[in-house]
Amino acid sequence: MSLLDVKNLKIYYFTLKGVVRAVDDVSFNVREGEVLGIAGESGSGKSTLGYGLMRLVPPPGRIVGGNIVVSGRDIVSMDEGTLRREIRWKVISMIFQGALNALNPVYTIGKQLVEPIIFHEDVSLKEAYERAAEMVKLVGLNEDVLRRYPHELSGGMKQRVMIAMALILRPKIVIADEPTTALDVVIQAQIMNLFKKIKKELNQSIIFITHDLSLIAEIADNVAVMYAGKIVEYGNSDNVFNTPKHPYTQGLLKSIPRLKSKEKLSWIPGTPPDLRNPPVGCRFHPRCPYVMDVCRREEPPIKDVGGNHLVACWLY
């Protein structure tokens, strides 16, 4: 049985100028120890999906349909108190996008790290601090950061603290939303290595959200490619990277610079659609090189093209 089962999840933003269908009918699952990569251009609804999994969609957003089942319990219908006490951070934790302001500036790192332990578990403060110290060492920081304030740390250090914080209760799933985007290249590589280490040493399930497919290739077991609020391709990393089926995935892969390949870099022409008013039929059709009549009329169903490789495209 899988750890996390998302079925037909719909998250809309009800803005004054219309309904933004940021996540529209998305389904996937995550197994124990699996790293699922979620890829897509910015604005495709990845972060919204992440917030949705924590049930923290900011207003005017709201989960309007579907289920999120974690270890057999549906959190969409769960009451707020139970969710807070039993699920958040304990079962699912999240490293937020642009995490440089994610730490409370007026408290020390130590205090913020032990905070969830104290509120979720019945342990002494001393014990909590010991666990925090251990976790800090695991993410490659010196123990004395516990006494420091957020503004005294560099961007990379803060991100490590965030990772330590996300792991502190040893949750079943960690959502990492663009964990490297705000960092410079060298630090990015270090953080990626940290994630690989966590995956290997802790056998941690991770949902790794990024707009950068090359990062996913490094770490993910399975990949979901999102376009305009929908998953357009979903499958095993090897399958998706070696034999991309959806024209959008193909386009994305062509735009990644590769050292060995001699292929010319190209970018998909056009811009992502306005999610308040997405194109009829396949949402990708205005940008698709293989567009057919049916694409303009009907939405393609998601289809298994073999080996649990799912794709939503009329070509198959």
């Binding site: 923290l56 934790s93 937020f96 302001n101 994610a102 500036p105 007026v106 969830p116 304030y149």
Partner: protein, 336 residues
Amino acid sequence: MIAVLYGVLILTGVIIGVTGLSDIVLYNIVDERLRIIKQQLAIKIKDPEQLNRAVEELKQELIRAYDLDKPWYARIPRIIYQIMVLDLGTSRSTLSFSGSNKVADIILERIPNTVLMVTTAVLISSLVGLVVGLWSATKVGSLLDRFTSLISAISYSLPTWWFGMVVILVFAYELRLFPSGGMTTPGLTITDPITRFLDLLWHLFLPVLTLFVALVGSWIYVTRSIVISITKEDFIVVGRAKGLPERVIRNRYLLRNSAPPILTNMILGLAGSITGAILTEAIFNWPGMGSLYYNAILSADINMILALTYIYTLVYVVARFILEVLYVVLDPRVRY
């Protein structure tokens, strides 16, 4: 901070020097001294001829001592020093409550009255502003929210002193509920402290109401925008994601982080209100520095005006200083 004070003092020195006001001020001081000396001398020297000569000599001496024989720019350091220690001679128009006519005495006596009125108003309005501001911050975009921006617009454009006049018209003239001015009922002979206190409150009501109305709008608005900007910070979402109780989020995340900017506003607001209350004090004839200022202007009492301008600037500078100290305590980001 101290540079600001010096800046203002030098500017003041130059201005009154160029316009010849410093001469008037200094001559005023010299004449005052001479008058006292003359009285003393008159006891010793009986011959009026001789007395006049002695006085004249002393006068020349004093003129030299105060650099009045030199051009105005040579006197700037001296006049700055005198302003700083409030050695500004005597007032032409006012006596202190205890009967002194020394500028310093008069002002020092009145500072507590101004502070009493303004702090009361600032405390009440900031408290109300805090509560309403926090409340409306949780309902962004609602009708209430629009209402707060309307209230703040009205507050911003309301001439406080005019509102004071209207308040007197309504509450003191029409309804006859409150006294139209002053701090105590004249001729009140009861010395019972509770009666005196109630009398003070009764007199305090209208000026405080006026300042309250003028201040509360901006308080609501400021609190609201500070809290809203912090609600949008990432660490609040992280706090929620961590599964912390709402109470903890509110106290440790939201309020704790709003405190430094709100406090900044409170202290600067207090300083601002003290200077802003000059006219309100005058309207209510409140025996503070403001009505002193007003009367000094009406009677062209230069020494007094100079001293009060300095004190008002000092209030600002002191507020800034307190703020810097407090910030070190409140916000780890400014600690070194």
